[in-house]
Each structure stands twice: as structure tokens, then as C-alpha cells.
Amino acid sequence: MASSTRSRRMGPVRVGESPAVRRTLIGLVLALSALVIVAPLAVIAVEAFSKGFGVFAATIAHPDTRSAVVMTLVTALIAVPVNTLFGIAAAWSITKFDFPGRGLLLILIEIPFSVSPIVAGVAYLFVYGMQGLFGAFLQDADIKILFALPGIVLASMFVTAPFVARELIPLMQAQGRDLEEAAASLGASGWQTFFSVTLPNIKWALLYGVILCNARVMGEFGAVSIVSGNIRGQTNTLPLHIELLYHDYQTAGAFSAALILTVIAVFTIIAKALLERRGAGRVRAATLAPTAGPAEAAKETP
């Protein structure tokens, strides 16, 4: 507060005061964004329709593409809720309780972020594959994990396990345990406390985490490509299908499928931006609403 008043009085302190520097810098950033982010996205749209709308429609309608879309959606429908529950449970236990191994759990949750997805895929291969730890057992029991939906879901879940927890932990750590303790002192049970106190205060971060997790599940390539077996029309997800089409020199088809994924991604980003604005708007409305009086409001600073 004090520093902002001071800087206002002394005029804005800015790096590169000169307009030329400022314009060059802004121009550079805009140009780079256009080149690196906007151009490829535009190319996808252009290439998808390069052979005419017919090819695009044919690719979309092709059974293999439809199967890939279904596969991707089903994977997300399983992996995202499971990871959401896991993320909430992990964040809750790490931030609200003290227990031995708490620090270890915190590190464990981070591992999927630092491990390359392809390594995760290979690891799953060794655990559930024919030569793997449970391979023989699984075959005897006639349970198919690899080269089938379960394997794809497991690999996707591994890769995206940290997303929800990583969103929630810093927030819940900052919120502390006071609110839960207050609820308990007022007679609320653990579930009542969670649903009526904890959840309402983490819902924006939770939604944000779910959206990021979903985007990643749908776009995951490395780990899934190892465990899915790339069976066309059966175990291909959208990203794998795109790669397959591309290697078959069906460029327009590949781009058409890529466009589906891109559209999903863009919607995800828009949803996230809307949620962020709503979340931020709520906070702002709460703090800027008329207070009891300027004199008393000024005393709030703890």
C-alpha cells in the first residue's frame, strides 16, 4: 500500500522509459506470439480444409476418427473424476493434518510432473506387460490392461495426477486450518465441514485444476502411445489417431482430427478464463462493496 502511493506520487517507475524501447518490446512480444502460437493454430484450421470441406467431413465421420474421439472422451470421463477425488483427498490430508510421511506424499504427488510421460508409459509396460510384474497373473485371470482402455486410463491418470492437488495445496495452505477448526467447534462433522466450509472456499481453484487436468488427459500422447498399442479404431485416442493419419500421408485428415482437439482445447481455455474472471469478480465485489465507513474500514489492516 505504502509503496504504491509513493510510486504514484513520484510517477510510474518503469524499465525502459523511452517510448521507442517500449514499442519495440511490445512489438517483439506480439510478433513472437503470432509466430509461435497463433500461426500454427491458424495453419491447423487452414490445412484441415485445404482439400475442401468434403475431406474434412469424411475424416470426421470416419469410424476410426469417431472411435478415437469416443476413446478420448471415455478416458477423460474416468481419469478426470478419479484424479479430482485423489487431488482433493491429497490436498486435504496434506494441508489439514499432520502425519508421518506428509512431506514424502508431497514429493510423490509431484513426480508425474518431473517424469517424462514416455517413461511413465514404459513403466506401465513393465508392470502390466507380458514380461512384467503382474503380466502372468493378469493373463491367467484374463484381465486386459495394456493395449486396452484400462491401460490408457491408468497412464493418463498417472500423467495428470498432480494437477488438481497442485492447484489446491497452496490455496488450502494459505487458508490454514482456522475455518475447519471453527466449523468443528460449532459442532460440524468432518463431512459437513468439508461440504459447507472447505469446498465453497476452494471451488474456483478446484475447477481450474479440473480443467487443466482434463485438457492434459485429452491431449496426452507419450504415455498413452506406449500402452495403447495403437490399434486403429479400437485403442487409438485422438492424439494417437492424428499421428497415425499423419504418418499415412493423410495430411488433410491429420489436420482435421487435430482441429477437433484444438477446438476442445480452445473451449477449455475460454472456460478457464471465464471461471477466473468470475472468481476474481466475486472477490473484488466482496472487498470493494461499501463497508461500514471509511474510518472503520481503515482499521481492518491486521
Binding site: 482456522d178 475455518l179 477448526e181 471453527a182 466449523a183 468443528a184 467447534s185 460449532l186 459442532g187 460440524a188 462433522s189 459437513q192 459447507s196 466450509v197 465453497p200 472456499n201 466482496a286 472487498t287 462493496a289 461499501p290 463497508t291 461500514a292 465507513g293 472503520e296 474500514a297 482499521k299 481492518e300 491486521p302
Partner: protein, 345 residues
């Protein structure tokens, strides 16, 4: 509800927060747990609440052993240091929270609404029921927190640094007001503070803690007039410490002789508060008499008095004189000691 703590011990990892504390609080009493940070006062309060559990010892509410009863079932009202109001609920919903979750005595919606109204009136916030915690001032939040704690009809009210985050004026008003509420409801109340003025102003009885132990307890009058240690003397207010030697039940300072009956011969510390000192200037006409020869080093004018900073044998002392007294830096005079406390050094 009478509270009894019996040889309570609490250790965090290796840090012993509370050492063998025994304390009893009478029904309807208003008791302050006073101590510097790290003295274990908040841990003690949280154990009474059931937010922490003692490693050893027993906590009884009336005749019932409450040691292991969790906070949810203990029937206490707890006011948190930073209020812990639910930010997503309105003031009225915050107050109603405990009545809605209570499993024992379910109330109808109309009953709850009526009780919320009543509590809002009690804490003088009738018009603010629809506001959210972020929209009200610190003092108002503190009162909402109290109303919320009272809504569950607690047997015991516990407050953790209730006025810590407020500025001096709001603090003073709320103190008086809490005192009135306590008189009206007569509920056994225990509060934690590090502010001795707050404790003395508000409490029937003050319990002073140091490093996890109770060092002294008693009425505000008893602890201020008969502090039993140098720590209590210093902690309760501005104090000057003068080194001296006791011999045959007497301590000699300058040409003053102070009574030290019962103290063994040896080095002692004489403690005096600014109000225990009296100034006799050399030019003032009255007989200087016996006293400590001192020189004024600075005069600070305050609304109610003039504060003199004086120096006596290298000790810096402060005392107040009436606003009319003519005195300036460099003046010489004598200090009389009206009252003092002497502890072995």
C-alpha cells in the same frame, strides 16, 4: 460450568509448550491467561477447547472428564484470533452455522432466524446480517465471531487474543462491551492475551504464564500490587531495575534505606515503576530530604503529565511530575522511592 485442569502437559515434537499446569476456573468467572509469546497460553486454551489434546493430565468440565472429548462435542464457544469467519457466508449465516449443524437440538428455521436476530442485537449489528465478512470492519467481525460462538449455547466461552488484530480505540470499546456481555450472560470465560492492560482491565482473575508454567495467579489487584517475581513485575508494566545489596533485612540505595525483611543477605534487584518515584528539584523550595541524587536528562511533555528522564549513578529512570512543575534538562534533584519490590538478583 467449572473448569479444572489437573497437571496438564503438552509437548510439540521436542518443544514442551505446557509444563504440568493445574488451574481451576470457577463457574461464571472471567479469567485471563496472560503471558509473552511462547508461554503456552494459546496451547492451554486450545486444550480446554479440545482442539489439542494433553499428553498427560486431566481436564474436567464440572464433574465430567473432558480430556479426550473432541471440540465438536465439548460444548465450548471458541473465538479465533483472526475470527475465522466463513468468508462465503453472510454474517447471519455465519451466526446460524452452529445451530444448523448441531445434531443434538435441531431447531426449526423460524427458531434459528429468531435466535440470529437476537444475537445480532446482542452484538449491536442488527442491520448487518446480510453483509459478508469482507464487507465489515475488524471490530464488527470480532463481534460476529463472538455471536457465532454464543449461538451454540456453549458451557464455556474461550477467546484467543480476542482483540489482538484491532487498533487501540476499538480495542478499548470492545473490552468494555465484552465485560458487559459477560455480566449479562454469566458464562464461564477464559481468554488469552499478551497485553497486560487488557488482562487487568477485563478479567476477574489473571493467570500469568512463563515458558509453559503458571508463575502467578490472582485478582488484578493482587498481581499488580504483590508481583511474586521479577518476571511478573517486569511483564505487568514499565519497571526500573536497580542493583543493590541486602544486608540484615535492609537495602541501601543512595542515602535511602529500603525494607527487605525476609531477604537473605546478598545482591538484590530493586524494582520501581515510574509512578513509584517522586521528584524533588533543588530549586523547588521543599526540603530535598533523603533520596537518590539524580540529574534530569530529558523532559517529555504528555497530555496528563510531564515525563522526566533522569539519570542516577548511570541508571536511566523515568517518572512523571505534574504539568505545572518547572523543570528542564540538566536540573539536579532527588528521587524519592514511594514503593518498591525487591527480589534476589
Amino acid at each position: 460450568m467449572k473448569i479444572n485442569l489437573d497437571h496438564v502437559v503438552k509437548t510439540f515434537n521436542t518443544f514442551r509448550a505446557v509444563h504440568d499446569v493445574s488451574l481451576s476456573v470457577e463457574s461464571g468467572e472471567l479469567v485471563a491467561l496472560l503471558g509473552p509469546s511462547g508461554s503456552g497460553k494459546t496451547t492451554l486454551l486450545r486444550m480446554v477447547a479440545g482442539l489439542e489434546f494433553p499428553d498427560a493430565g486431566q481436564i474436567r468440565f464440572g464433574e465430567q472428564d473432558a480430556t479426550q472429548i473432541p471440540v465438536r462435542e465439548r460444548g465450548v464457544g471458541f473465538v479465533f484470533q483472526h475470527y475465522a469467519l466463513f468468508p462465503h457466508l453472510s454474517v447471519a449465516d455465519n451466526i446460524a452455522f452452529g445451530m444448523r449443524t448441531a445434531r443434538a437440538a435441531r431447531r426449526s428455521k423460524a427458531e434459528i432466524d429468531a435466535r440470529v436476530e437476537e444475537l445480532l442485537r446482542l452484538v449491536q449489528l442488527s442491520s448487518l446480517g446480510n453483509r459478508f465478512p469482507a464487507q465489515i470492519s475488524g471490530g464488527q467481525r470480532q463481534r460476529v465471531a463472538l455471536a457465532r460462538a454464543l449461538a451454540v449455547d456453549p458451557k464455556v466461552l474461550l477467546l484467543d487474543e480476542p482483540f489482538g488484530a484491532l487498533d487501540a480505540n476499538v480495542r478499548r470499546d470492545l473490552r468494555r462491551w465484552l465485560r458487559e456481555i459477560h455480566a449479562e450472560l454469566g458464562i464461564t470465560t477464559l481468554f488469552v492475551t499478551h497485553d497486560q492492560e487488557e488482562a487487568l482491565d477485563l478479567a476477574d482473575r489473571v493467570v500469568i504464564l512463563q515458558q509453559g508454567r503458571i508463575v502467578q495467579q490472582g485478582t488484578p489487584r493482587a498481581v499488580t500490587r504483590q508481583p511474586n517475581s521479577a518476571f511478573v513485575m517486569r511483564f505487568l508494566g514499565d519497571t526500573h531495575q536497580l542493583s543493590a545489596t541486602a544486608k540484615g533485612g535492609q537495602v541501601t540505595l543512595g542515602d535511602l534505606s529500603l525494607d527487605a525483611t525476609g531477604l537473605a543477605d546478598g545482591p538484590v534487584d530493586v524494582f520501581v515503576r515510574p509512578a513509584d518515584l517522586e521528584w524533588a528539584g533543588q530549586g523547588s523550595g521543599d526540603q530535598p530530604g533523603p533520596g537518590l541524587p539524580a540529574t534530569v536528562t530529558r523532559v517529555i511533555d504528555r497530555p496528563g503529565a510531564r515525563r522526566l528522564a533522569v539519570s542516577f549513578e548511570g541508571h536511566g529512570l523515568e517518572l512523571d511530575v505534574a504539568p505545572e512543575v518547572e523543570v528542564a534538562a540538566g536540573d539536579r534533584g532527588r528521587l524519592r522511592i514511594l514503593r518498591s519490590r525487591i527480589f534476589p538478583a
